[in-house]
Symmetry: C2
Subunit: 587 residues, 2 copies
Amino acid sequence: MPRLRLALAQTNPVVGAFEHNAAGIITATRSAAEQGADLVAFGEMAISGYPIEDLASRPSFLRAAREAVETLARRLADQGLGDVAVVVGHPDGPFEPRSVDVTTAPSAIAQNCASVLQHGRVIATTAKYHLPNYSVFDEYRVFIPGDDLLVARIADVDVAIIICEDLWREGGPVARVLAADAGLLLVVNASPWIADKDEVRLPLVTRRATESDTIVAYVNIVGGQDDLVFDGDSLVVDEAGTVLARAPQFREHLLLVDLDPAPATDPVVTEDVHRVLLDTPDTTPGSIALDGQRPALPRDVAEPRDDLEEIWNALVLGTRDYVEKNGFRSVVLGLSGGIDSAVCAAIAVDALGPDRVYGVSMPSQWSSEHSRSDADDVAERLGLHYRTEAIADLVRPFEDQLHLTGLAAENIQARARALVLMGLSNLDGHLVLTTGNKTELSVGYSTIYGDSVGGFAPIKDVPKTLVWELATWRNRFAAGRGETEPIPENSITKPPSAELRPDQKDEDSLPPYEVLDSILDGYITRALGAADIVAEGHDPDTVAEVTRLVDRSEWKRRQGAIGPKISGMAFGRDRRLPITYRPQQYR
Amino acid sequence: MPRLRLALAQTNPVVGAFEHNAAGIITATRSAAEQGADLVAFGEMAISGYPIEDLASRPSFLRAAREAVETLARRLADQGLGDVAVVVGHPDGPFEPRSVDVTTAPSAIAQNCASVLQHGRVIATTAKYHLPNYSVFDEYRVFIPGDDLLVARIADVDVAIIICEDLWREGGPVARVLAADAGLLLVVNASPWIADKDEVRLPLVTRRATESDTIVAYVNIVGGQDDLVFDGDSLVVDEAGTVLARAPQFREHLLLVDLDPAPATDPVVTEDVHRVLLDTPDTTPGSIALDGQRPALPRDVAEPRDDLEEIWNALVLGTRDYVEKNGFRSVVLGLSGGIDSAVCAAIAVDALGPDRVYGVSMPSQWSSEHSRSDADDVAERLGLHYRTEAIADLVRPFEDQLHLTGLAAENIQARARALVLMGLSNLDGHLVLTTGNKTELSVGYSTIYGDSVGGFAPIKDVPKTLVWELATWRNRFAAGRGETEPIPENSITKPPSAELRPDQKDEDSLPPYEVLDSILDGYITRALGAADIVAEGHDPDTVAEVTRLVDRSEWKRRQGAIGPKISGMAFGRDRRLPITYRPQQYR
């Protein structure tokens, strides 16, 4: 008979919403207890949301976090859930306002913690040791590293508890887990999703399980938080590398699994291991059979998704959570008939339903007939609210009064459209979605304060070539379910154009998108220099021009909307480069 | 007779402009050599500019930096300057493109170095040990810490060379300097200016000098780089705490000083000290007298400036360098007749001269008579290019077509003005300056894609109350020199108004600015919670409302222009907070 029933609760916290997050934790704990769980684990910072960034330096925030954890422990007990052991992530640090001397170096005051709660009390707390400070992470900036390993004994199992990055790095906690001879390694995570992450996460968890001969339980949060999307994908792998349980991605889930780890032995006492003894719940409400045996759990192992399906779901969840968590009722976006706005509209409808999505066609004198009909078509396919606002009468007074020509005249059209969308947003409270893709953002092929206007950019980390792939995938997915294909075929196949002057085509100004995306992958994602990219077979003049465009567009990107990170190198806090920058003999 | 003639060269590097920066280094070295210097020291990253941010992770950048340092050494020798010892800061790291695995943790590859050059060669290199990773600094993200102290012997003086943060922290290099028994501690800096920084920098340098009984020479770069302003203020303090030399702030300068430090002794050999022996130039071109004696140097000790004068100069330098280093010929800004735009115009004229500044008055139906006449007045006082573009005919078509009312109608006016400025920018290549102050940015009292539009925001870190003080100071400064006061008295004294509806005043929507700035200082600069601010004597409802406004404006700030940081907590990379954030029981 398995000795330990473990629940991994994949919740979707909101940063700063302690009460909301705690309520979700209580609900999940009740459900787990009803199903006979001994131990329920939540993700990293599940009570505060993640990442909290510089809120970690705000004593009033830390005070609220501490109160939230203590209140949670008491409430669980008050509601008859005090017997179940609960592991939950939270920030911790000093509460008193500091007198800040702004002229000297501030130091981190907080720690990134996980606590074990039982019987209304906080039994023990541990802090993260390895603080990621690369990519989007600034943890070394705001946290002090922990210095011990927490091992909690429950149901005669020694459960070692570590936090996220501590699983990924050799040394520190992972080495101590080996020495501590734990039966179960519980890892509490807030690990943002990027494409292909599941291809490294499962192998890592498996390797740690087999090399330490310990069952590894990995619990992750889920949901969108600004530019990050957490996919969940909580999982349990046994000492032989077998996946015992795996939660679905991109949704909340309570994953239950019965485990029979190696029984606890008398520990070698070491200074850097903090051991606590928990009570094992001997009765739990709900479904315990009369003989004290728990009915067996159904197997719960989610199948991995197709790569494009994962990306689509990440974009949908990132968009939905930005809208919901910031309290918007609806979104508005321009529909040009092109592929980018069609894909963004489809994402928005998948995220919010058609009744919360407002599309606006804003034709100009240069708009082709197909751009209007394709915009009408996507609106009809998606069933969203739709209106047309021609911009000719809005643009003409600017052209006439300022004698605009050339680029200035092209940009005024994009900017008049922005004013229409912002006007509708101000009237009706819509969030404006901006539909630029990563390729455009990379080379600055957009009008700042024009098509870049908006609070959220669903495809800002999606290169143009991938936009097409996603459109095709989404249509195929619909067709497979007998549903209307959301993206007009014509939007996918026609040559892209900004339509800001007669017969304009993107490829008049830019290399073919396949070439462009390949160069950008080298320059941006792989941080290659121009010479290195040329050595991979690209034309030197094209590489010089593309890298020049990327460098000179940094000021525009800085003023751009956030959007879901899906790649290993997204614009925003993932890639921090100067605006003022005069490269010479290299790029 | 002093044994060592030291030159501290306070140069203004441009990030990435290796050739330009090296040319400035050669010019300064020649001038120092002509004046008989033995040793010429430049600032941290003087050859690459600072901060280089994630360029430090780009092997092609590191390759260019290495080539630039080696080329510099050779060129100095080729030009007859090989005898002089030169200390220069630069990044260093591996050159080969890496295959980046985007799914795992990238690690820093570079170091923040200073090298000693002589006789055409790089004699020795040391790397920074303490890597600042707070405030605007991300050095732990991109650099590997150094692990030894470099001591170069020249003219029978042991010169210990450390980099910036290593002076500020106890332990590490500072402790090793004490043990190494150096005669001179040379600190190579890129230390951004903030208000009151000189009040901590000089005491720190003095304390290090007296506590280690070592002369301390502190050399800093100067100039604007994006949102940072480096003020120079290079200085030399002797063992008794006397300031021997001090360079003026906010301009390039070559500071020469004769020193007679304790002679070098036979060192105790320790593993963590790297010692090199340099040749002492026995002849230098130029002004050496026939008997081999160098003529005495004039005393060069700049007087500190008044606080407001320092701030004004920082804003002017930050604005000028953003314009110059990014290759703009001119700037354009809206002149409303209000204090913010008048101060920005005065800064721009001080930075660039009136012929490179274009002001535009854009009255609406709600603009008061005084707003037009005050705008005319500031334009005339400053002598800048000036035109009027009424917006009524631009706004009306939007109002009519979209039936705009209320906030939507107010915002369309600000956004029509933005389109005018961007149109003029597109026609004539002007950089658009946006004139919002820190108080407005804090509470979101501005129209996004309206008055927030622009590439640079000269007063974005200046609270409204300080804007008034600066205006008054600048007028007093002008009056003291018998010049025209640049800011109309009426712009300073009239009640602030956005003039987007009839008889609108800022204080209809906001608390009085003295109260508001005090609350914002608590919430933003000192990171207090609402309860802490109330405890300081503020009205609870006002505090609740102000902190709510600050939190909900984060998305606007993220899309704002950069501008010079003058405070200990500026918006931008200095203050990293989530947009999606739902504070509840605290703030």
